[in-house]
């Protein structure tokens, strides 16, 4: 298999398989989670200002008082790489084109140099967050294989995409194929790992906020 065949495979059958597994996994897990149900809370609801599902959805994006100072790396690094990933995935021209091709929606792109900068910032933030996880004994202790694995699976598409556009290490064709392959691995892993938070994040925040609002506690 030469590199063009490899690229064509990743753009054809590879993408087919990856998107198929992603859709299968996402629908399976979302339906399973949302049909689980909970016992009805028979206690009378209490009312408190700011206690609701919607409030919690937003509040959980902000560090609780004092936490930013206690673990700045987690918060700042976390913000940086999440925002960076969103910029790269949703505002890079080739990515928008892929989305348009898959679901028909499109919007204006950012210049490629800006996307390149976002990739560098994202990778730097991710590396810092990784070192923090290695260096802080508690974080290290709490980390499982899944944490290291999902970090790598998220980091590789950014690295290979950036290296492809910068013409580093391998010819563009090979790097582009590796980039698409690594993104496909991410799609396959996503529904069955903690990366699924991309889909469950707001639902679970809403749920927690709703339960606490019933008890009259804004969290």
């Amino acid at each position: 298999m030469n590199e063009l065949q490899f690229l064509t495979w990743t753009r054809g059958p590879g993408l087919n398989i990856a998107v198929g597994i992603l859709l299968l996994g996402v629908l399976w897990r979302l339906i399973e989670i949302y049909t689980l149900g909970r016992k009805k809370d028979l206690a009378a609801p209490r009312h408190a200002a700011g206690a609701s599902g919607l409030h919690t959805v937003f509040r959980r994006s902000l560090p609780p008082p004092g936490m930013l100072k206690r673990s700045p790396v987690s918060y700042i690094g976390g913000y940086l790489f999440h925002v960076g990933l969103a910029i790269i995935v949703f505002l890079g021209a080739p990515h928008i084109l892929l989305i348009k091709n898959l679901i028909g929606l499109s919007w204006p792109a950012l210049p490629s140099q800006f996307i390149g900068l976002a990739a560098v910032v994202t990778m730097a933030a991710m590396v810092v967050v990784l070192f923090d996880r290695i260096n802080k004994p508690v974080k290290h202790f709490l980390s499982t294989f899944e944490d290291w694995f999902t970090w790598a699976v998220t980091f590789l598409p950014v690295l290979t995409g950036w290296m492809a556009t910068q013409h580093l290490l391998l010819p563009y064709t090979q790097m582009l194929a590796l980039h698409i392959l690594s993104a496909e691995i991410l799609l396959v892993v996503l529904p069955f790992s903690k990366l699924f938070h991309g889909f469950t994040l707001f639902g679970s925040r809403w749920y927690n906020g709703r339960v606490n609002a019933h008890k009259g506690v804004p969290v």
Partner: protein, 359 residues
């Protein structure tokens, strides 16, 4: 036309100065040091015409058209004329047994010294019966001619990589020259067709240095195939700015914006079209408003649609709908299983009373 090349050129009205300029251009095009231009001029001027045998196999004659027709009035055409082209079916006057005799004689007289040019792929299925010359299969002719060749030039994508005949499902079992010949230096000059200046550049290098130019991992001269079309494209700034033509007749297309979204394969195609251009430097595909097809890359024909951007699926998604249905089905089934488990737990649940605890 015997004797040194410079004399022949002089007879044709080409001045020494023009010839030197041509050599300097060729040298710089091939990224050779400035002194190489002079060395090239001296070597080429003194060169006796080397014997060249050009064998056409499973091909469309587009490579020959490219070399001869578009460049015949230029100096490249002259240089090309100056080699001793002892066998070229399309160009030679002889036919039939006479032609075959010319080939046999050239091979015998210049054994071990001639340059063999191949265009077209070599079919292997049915013992090579898909393409025969004078009753002999291409593979047979190639093996015979390659044995006495000093070097082989695979002209065009078919000879270099199998090209269109090798495209899926490859009915004739087409292969490239390098799939068959393993013991001779081979230089691939892919393209459908290849650029004439690349051909003459390689020949000039061979005449000057007595060796083939530096090749990349696909056997192509690095000097011409070192960069991608995209990297040298004059429309590249539009790509970087995110300005794309969306259709072939929209505002973007009229403004000459990047053709990436219309399926241009420039980013993955190594060739010199963007710098050397075509038809004596007149234009080239992207300049004329059409994206690159990637014709100088192996298996370009099977690389998905020419009009689909590289970052989009090569084929429409096949399993997406089925996978969504299966996923939803599994989700529903699992949720029923969970409900059943909960209900079973509920029915088997025994109420604990205060009396039970005090037992």
């Amino acid at each position: 036309m015997q004797g040194p090349l410079i004399d022949t050129l002089a007879r044709r009205g080409i001045s020494r100065r023009t010839f030197l300029k041509y050599c300097a251009t060729l040298a710089s095009m091939m990224a050779l040091p400035p002194t190489a231009g002079r060395a090239m001029a001296e070597a080429m001027a003194a060169a006796r015409r080397p014997s060249v045998i050009w064998l056409p196999f499973q091909e469309c004659t587009g490579c020959t058209e490219s070399i001869t027709r578009s460049h015949s009035p230029t100096i490249e055409g002259m240089i090309f004329d100056m080699i001793s082209l002892d066998y070229q079916e399309t160009l030679m006057a002889a036919a039939g047994h006479q032609a075959e005799e010319a080939r046999a004689n050239a091979m015998k007289e210049n054994a071990g010294k001639y340059l063999l040019i191949i265009d077209g792929s070599i079919p292997l299925k049915m013992d090579g019966a898909y393409s025969c010359i004078g009753g002999r299969s291409n593979v047979d002719l190639l093996k015979e001619a390659a044995a006495g060749a000093a070097a082989i030039v695979a002209m065009g994508s078919c000879a270099s990589y199998g090209g269109i005949p090798k495209a899926n499902p490859n009915p004739t079992g087409a292969v490239s020259v390098s799939d068959i010949v393993k013991d001779k230096p081979i230089v691939n000059i892919p393209g459908c067709p290849p650029i004439p200046a690349v051909m003459t550049g390689v020949l000039a290098h061979y005449l000057t240095f007595g060796s083939l130019p530096e090749l990349d991992d696909k056997g192509r001269p690095k000097a011409f195939y070192g960069d991608t079309i995209h990297d040298r494209c004059y429309r590249r700034p539009f790509y970087d700015q995110g300005k794309f033509a969306k259709t072939f007749d929209d505002e973007g297309a009229r403004n000459g914006w990047c053709l990436f979204e219309l399926g241009c394969k420039g980013p993955v195609t190594h060739n010199a079209c963007a710098t050397v251009k075509w038809n004596g430097g007149t234009s080239w595909p992207v300049e004329s408003g059409h994206g690159c097809l990637g014709c100088s890359e192996p298996d370009f024909w099977d690389g998905g649609s020419f009009y689909k951007a590289l970052s989009t699926p090569a084929d429409p998604l096949k399993f997406a709908a089925a996978a969504a249905v299966v996923g939803a089905g599994v989700g529903v089934a699992v949720s029923f299983a969970n409900r059943a488990k909960k209900n079973a737990a509920k029915t088997t649940h025994e109420t604990t009373t205060l009396a039970d605890l005090e037992k």
